[in-house]
Amino acid sequence: MSAPVAAHSAIGEFLENLKQAPRRVLDTAFRGGAPVTDRTRSSFVFGNVFLHLHSVRTHRWSLKWTTTMGLGLASAAAFLLTLITGVLLMFYYKPYPDVAYDSIKDIHFVVPTGRFMRNIHRWAANVMVITVILHMARAFYTGAYRRPREFNWLIGMGLLVTTLGLSFSGYLLPWDQLAYWAITIGTNIAQSPREITDALGITEYFDPGGLQRLILLGSDTVGAEALIRFYLWHVMILPLVLAALAAVHFWRIRKDGGLVRPSDADKRLGAPTADTQPVFTNAPAKTYQLAAIVKGRTAAVGKGPENTVPSMPHLFYAELGVLMLTSLICLALALVSDAPLKELANPNVPENPAKAPWYFLGLQELVAFSAFMGGIGIPTIVLIGLGLIPYLDRESKGTGDWFGGPGGWPLVKQAVGVGLGASILIEAFVINFGWLREWSPSIPQLVVTAVNPGTLLTLAYGVYSVHLVRRYQSARAGALGLFTCFLCGFTVLTVIGTYFRGPNWVFYWSPADWPKH
C-alpha cells in the first residue's frame, strides 16, 4: 500500500503548489514581501525597474510645493496622456491625404468618445508645451542647472526640442486647411537658409535649405509623402526619443543627488517630523566593494540620511497627485473646447493669415522680416545660449533658491521691465513705421537678414546681459537677466503673433477689424 501513499503525497503536493501558485507569482514578481513597512517599501522601490528611477528616499525639501511646482511631473503626466490617447487615435487614423481628414471626421462624429479622446490629446499636448517651458524656467531660476546637474540641463533642452517637434509633427495629421498651411509655413522656414545662399548666389551649388525642406516633406510640396513622414515622426520616432531622453532625465536626477536644494536646506526645514524614520540599521551586513564609485567621501554607513522620507508613499502621493491634477485639467479643457478641424486641405486656397502653431508664432513674427533669422538664426543662438548657461555660470551662491544668486529678485523684476519694454517698443515701432523693406524696397536681403527687429532685440538683450555681468561681477546675474528677457520677448512676440496679426500679417487690435474679402 505504500505506492498509493507516495502517489497521494505527490498529488497532494501538486495540488498544494497549484493552490499556492497565484500567491507565489506575486511573491516572485514583488520580491521582498508586501510593501507595508518602510523597509519593505524601500526594498520595493529599489527592486522595481520603473520605480528604481526614483531614489528610495526623498529629501523633504523636494516635497515642498514651492520647490518645483510639480511642473516636470506635469510635463511627464501630459506626455502620458498624449501617449494613451494617441495610441487610441491611431486605431482610427489613416495617414493619407483626404482620407486622413475623413478619418478625423469619423473620430469626431462616430468613434465612441473619439472626439473626447482627440480633445484630450490636443489639450494634453498644449499643456505639455506650456509645462515644459515653465519647468525649464523653474530649473533655471532655482539654479538647478548648476554642478552637478549641467548635463541634465542639456538633456532637458533635448526634451524641449523633442516636445516641440512632437507637437509640430502632429499638427499636419488632420489634413485640414489649418494643418496644411501651418506645415507649409513651417517647412518654408526650414528652407530659409536659401535666403543666405540666394543672396550669395550659390543656391545652385549648395542648398542646405532646400535639402532640409526636401527631407521634411519628401517632395516639393506638402502631400502624401509629407503626411506619412510627419506621421512616422509623430507616432514613432519622436515618442521613442522622448521616452529615452525622459528616462535618462529622471534617472540623472537621482544620480545627481536628487532635486536641487539650498545648502542650508536642512537648517531651514527644521527638525524632521515624527514620521521620518531611518530605515538603515546599525549593523550593516555588506562589504561595500563598489563604495569607490559612490559619490561623497564616505559611504553613509549606519547613518540614516537626515531629512529624507521614504519615497514610498510620500513622493508617490505627490507624483500621483500631480498626474491626476494634470489629467483633471486636460479632461476639463477637453470637455468644454473641441480641437479645431477646418476645411479639407486645399493647396489652391491659401489660408490668410496662415499661422504656425502658437508656440512658433513668436518666431513667425520675426520670420516676417527674415525667414532665416526668425526661423533658424535666432532659435539657434537661443539654444546655444541656453546650453552654455551651466558651463559659464560656475558659481554656487543662491543654488536651490528661487531667483537665487547676485541680483536676485530685484534684478529679475528689472529684467522683466527691460525684456517687455524692449520687445514692445520695437514691435510698436515696426507696426507703426514699417522696416527697411518698406522704406527702400530695393535693399539687399542680406542687410535685412542682419538688421531686423529680431536681431536688434537679441542684440539689446545681449548688451543688457553683459551690463549685468559687469555690474554684479557675476555670470549668474547676466544669465538671470538674459533668460528673463528672452522669456518676456518670447511672450510678447507670441501674444502679438497669436492675437494681433491678421491677413497678410498686418497688425489688428481684434479679429473683428480684419478686412472682409
Binding site: 462624429f109 510620500h314 500631480v322 491634477l325 472682409k516
Partner: protein
Amino acid sequence: MKKNKHLLLGSSIGCLVLLLMAAIEENFRKQWRGIQAAGQNDDGPISVQLRQIVNPGLRHSDRCISCHVSMGAGDANVTGARILRTHRPVVHDPAEYGCTICHAGQGLATEKEDAHGDVQFWPSPMFPARYAYAGCGACHTPLDVPNRDLLGRAKGAFERLDCLACHRVDGRGGTIRPGGGGMEGPDLSRIGIAGYKTDWYEKHLELSRKAEAKAAGNGPWKNSFAAVSEADRRLVATYLATLVSAPRLIEAKAVFHSTGCLGCHKVSGAGGDEGPELTRAGEKDPGQLNFVPVPGKATLDNWLAEHFRSPGSLVAESKMPALGLSEADIDKLTLYVMSLRRMDVPASYVPRDRMNAARFGAREFTTDGATVYGVFCAGCHGLEGQGRRAPGMAAFPSIANSDFLSRVEDEFLANTIRSGRPGRRMPPWGEKEGGLRPEEIQAVIRHLRSLGGVEARPDSKPARWVSGNKEEGRQLFAASCSGCHGAKGEGGEGPALNNQVLLSKATDTYFVETIGKGRRGTGMAGFEEPSTVRRTLTRLEIESIVSFIRSWEGGKS
C-alpha cells in the same frame, strides 16, 4: 504628505466626475439616439444604432439616415416622427446614392447642426429646400435650355395642345377626359434625358385616325388628337428637351439665358473673359465671403441674391454693373448659380448630359437666335437690343436701332460679332475666340433684324467711294464731331471712330448715311437735317468728314 494626499483625492474625484459626464454625453445625449428611440417598424421599435449609406462607387458615405431613418435601405416602413419619414420618390434613390451628393451638407456628421453644414469650417452647407434643385448641378448639365420667352412659349404650346390630358409632367396632368381612367400616355417628366422617337407625331396621328375609323366606342384615342402645326411641333420638341425632372432648375437656367451673363463670364468653356469664370461659382465657401452688407443669414443664397442686387457693395472693385433685375429673377439666378458646381465623381457616374456638353460639344442653350442673343449679348446690349448705360462705363450701343440696322449689311454684323472691337469691351465671338459657331452668329443676326424690324438696304456702291477734302473734313470734324467722338476719334460720349475694325469693315455709305441721317434714339443727330442748335452739313461736307475719318485707317489709333 497630507496636502499631497488631498490633492490626489480631490483631482481623482474630479477626473472621475468628468469621465462620468463624458460617458453620459456619449451614451445618452446624442440627438440621433432620441430620434431613433421613437421609431417603429412592423416588428416594433427599431434598434438604436448609427446608420449610414455607403456608396463605394461614388466614394461617398452619409450618416444622415441616423436621423432620417426611413431614407436608408430596408427601412422604408419606419414611422414614429416626422423626421423619420421616407423621401419622396426621386430618380436617384437616397438609399443608393446617399444624401449629400444632391443636397450637400456634411455627410460624415451625426449631429443636426454639423450635418446640415451651417457651421464654421464646412464649405458646402445643405441647400435650402427652395434651392434644392441646385444640387442637380453637381453632376448634371441641362442641355438645350431656351431663353425665358421661348421656354414660356414652348411650355404654353404643350399645354395649349392639351398634351397633359394623357401625359404626366412633374406630377401634373395625365387625366384623360372624358370618362376613362388616367395616364394613357407615358410620364414625360424625364423625356429630355431618356429621349424619344422622332416619329411620335405620325404615330399619334395614325392611332387617332384608327380610333376614329372604328366609330363605335369611346376609347381614349377617339377625338383626343388632331393635327399639330410644324411650328407648334418645334415648340413641343423644345419643351420636351427640357424635361429632366428638374423644372425649377430649367426655369432658372432659362432666366440665366435671358440675362446675357455669358457675355462676360465663362461657364464650362463658353462665354467671355471680362468677369470671373462661373463654372464652379456654386461651390463658394460661405465662410470666405463678405457678409457685412448682406441682410439676413450668412448663407450662400443670401449672398448671391445681394450680389445680384448690388455687385459692387459685396465684391471690392467689381466691374459688374447692377443689372436692375426683379426679385423673382434674382431668386432664379441665385438658384442657377448655386447649381454651378462640379463634383468629382468616377467616370462611370458622369451623366450623359454632362458628358455630351464636355466632350461632344452639345450646347447648354438652344441655338435659336433669340436664345443665343439672350445668353451672350443681352447683358450689355439689353434683352431688346436697346443698349445699356452703366455708371463708370462707356455706353453699350443700342444694336437693334433701326437706323443702324438699315445701314449695315449682315456681313458687317457678322464680322463685328466674329472679331469684336479691339480696344472696346466687345470681345471677339468667333468660334476660336469666343466659341460661337457660324450658324449661331447667323441666327443672332436674324434675331437682331427681327428686333429692329428692318432688313439691310442693298448698297449698290462699292465699300469705298468717297473722295472728299481731308483738310476740310478735319476742320469740320473738329467743329461738329469731336465733342462727342473725341478730337482724334478716340470716343467719349459717342463711340470711338478710330477703331481699326470699324474702319476696315464699315462702308463709306454707312458713314455717310449715319452722319447725314443720324441714329434715332441716340445722341447722334442727322447733320443733313436743318437744326437751330447745330450747323447743317451738306452731302459734300459729310463726304469730306468721311475722308478725314478714313485717314485714321491703318495708322495708330
